[in-house]
């Protein structure tokens, strides 16, 4: 008797399939790599930064970057007006930016999804009231509303994060509501309902997992937008307060030196741009990988 070996083809796991689509977008992979480097630097700032972010060295005020005449390799990106090492401040600043992104996205995703789920599932009057409130928030330019909220709550990083989360909220509510409304009437939901699933089970276990794809993409975009908004508030003097090495706050402090010391202004902004760009590149890749309409084959 001969033994026939059966070759079974195992379907790719979700993660493998995701990576297959994600890695086809070169930009997304580069974005991911850059993001991981920034994340690594932020986490290991204590070891990665050559100097303390707050120690002022009176002997090296406004020292230019290493490759410019008069620069020193020990202060690779130069120093600011009070002699602090810019590279070290940027590395520590990455902590703030990533932290702001994580907090803002978590706050607005959790509350936005919850409210959107309620609006989309229950419809009727609840839905109308929720959507009107969201319309009201959307009637203000986001940065202006955040600015005024911070003015009321008091300038500072925590209040800036709360304000930015609030102005981000309507996007998540609208997106969740729209996704829930399309899923709600599908056969699998009705089947689950007929089988006796309760409201909470239907909302969170049956419907929500099928609405996640657009939410993940929006969360990535919100992450980069939060970093930009927090930096803008810091720049206007309403975000993190000096001497915090937050990138936007660093730019605000550097404004008066734009004619004399270009490096004090250039590098913090470049750090913001690179971080936001990396996250947006990842967002594009995520959209390609998660949007079933774009998947071919």
């Amino acid at each position: 008797m001969t033994v026939v070996e059966l070759k079974t083809i195992t379907p790719p796991t979700g993660l493998a399939e995701f990576w297959f689509y994600f890695s086809r977008n070169k930009g997304a992979v580069i974005g991911l790599a850059v993001f991981l480097i920034i994340l690594f630097l932020a986490v290991s700032a204590m070891f990665a930064a050559p100097h303390s972010p707050s120690i002022q060295n009176r002997e090296v005020l406004l020292l230019p970057p290493a490759w410019v005449e008069g620069g020193r390799f020990t202060y690779f990106l130069g120093t600011d007006a009070v002699g602090r090492d810019i590279l070290s401040r940027l590395i520590y600043g990455a902590r703030f930016s990533l932290f702001i992104g994580v907090v803002v996205v978590s706050l607005s995703v959790v509350s936005g999804v919850l409210v959107g789920l309620i609006a989309g599932y229950f419809r009727g009057r609840t839905d109308t009231i929720i959507m009107r409130v969201m319309d009201i928030i959307l009637a203000f330019p986001s940065l202006l509303l955040a600015l005024v909220l911070v003015a009321v709550l008091g300038p500072g990083l925590l209040n800036a994060m709360i304000a930015i989360s609030l102005v981000n909220l309507p996007h998540f509510v609208r997106l969740t509501r729209a996704a829930v409304m399309t899923e709600r009437t599908k056969d699998y939901v009705i089947a689950s309902k007929v089988a006796g699933a309760g409201t909470l089970r239907l909302m969170f276990l049956t419907i929500l997992p099928n609405c996640l794809a657009p939410l993940i993409v929006q969360a990535t975009l919100a992450f980069s937008a939060a970093i930009l908004d927090a930096a803008a508030l810091g720049f206007l003097g309403m975000g993190a307060q000096p001497p915090t090495p937050e990138w936007g706050t660093m730019l605000a402090e550097a404004r008066e030196f734009i004619q004399r010391a270009w490096w004090v202004v250039t590098f913090p902004g470049l750090a913001i741009l690179i971080t936001v760009l990396a996250i947006n590149l990842m967002g594009d890749g995520l959209r390609d990988a998660l949007d079933p309409k774009l998947k071919r084959s």
Binding site: D135, F140, P141, A232, M238, V265, P268, L277
Partner: protein, 334 residues
Amino acid sequence: MLRFIFGRLAVLIPTFIGVSIIAFSFIRLLPGDPVMLMSGERVMSPERHAQLMADLGLDRPIYIQYFDYLLNLLQGDFGSSIVTKRAVLTDFLQLFPATIELSLCAIILAVCLGVPAGVLAAVKRGTWLDQTLMGTALVGYSMPIFWWGLLLVIFFSGYLGWTPVSGRISLMYFFPQVTGFMLIDSLISGQAGAFKSAVTYLILPTIVLATIPLAVIARQTRSAMLEVLGEDYVRTARSKGLSPFRVIGIHALRNALIPVVTTIGLQVGVLLAGAILTETIFSWPGIGKWMVDSVFKRDYQVVQGGLMLIAAVIMVVNLIVDVLYGFINPRIRY
């Protein structure tokens, strides 16, 4: 169509009331009361305090105060500045043209560059041109514009000395403000060189403010164009032997522009938010800078009135965009 417009107006009313509640209540969320805010550091006797509260009607129940506020709003009274004592509406109307002028120039620049860039990227899909254009667009989309503005100032104003750093026109020129739009006023004045001066002052703020809308429009145009280029009627037009220019310019672009117009309309909020940063960097005397200054001066009457007026402008513009959308897209008939 009229029914649709009235329907939208009916939705606007509760939103407007909601906006007014937010603007009304935020001033009351601040620590202390308005009288204490106005008196600042000065010490005030409790009797004097009570007297002032009564004079300003602040001792009445909160809902009566709100209805009073709403009634004033409807009569065009948006309060007056604590600092300058001028009516908020007067200041707003005086400063708004500067913001409109800057925003209009920015959106025109964004459309004139963004739409062709998006079309070109779609037509040359997958080539280095597409990748370069869309890469640039993504950089623009990710740009912290307050930093971008500073960089342009360093390079064009500081290094090259081509453009001025702040303001709307050189102090050499003085003429009455007829329209509030510096470009038009300087032309009307007939003074030699005034228009050119106004243009040089406008260039950098326009570029900065246009950056994000430009990137958004380019990306949106590309994806709308890609969708349309795959349609049957485009293939038919091609197979009829029409020139590529006619196929892309007339058959495809007209349909691709429908979602793009909505995107352009949605940029109004982005422009006003961007105006806050751009006007602050370039000391451009518009409503964005006015709001930031008022926040810092703790002139909360102005912040309150300004919030209301800006929200009202955005709501009206969004309504107009919705109606226009119905006109250009015959598939939607209300």
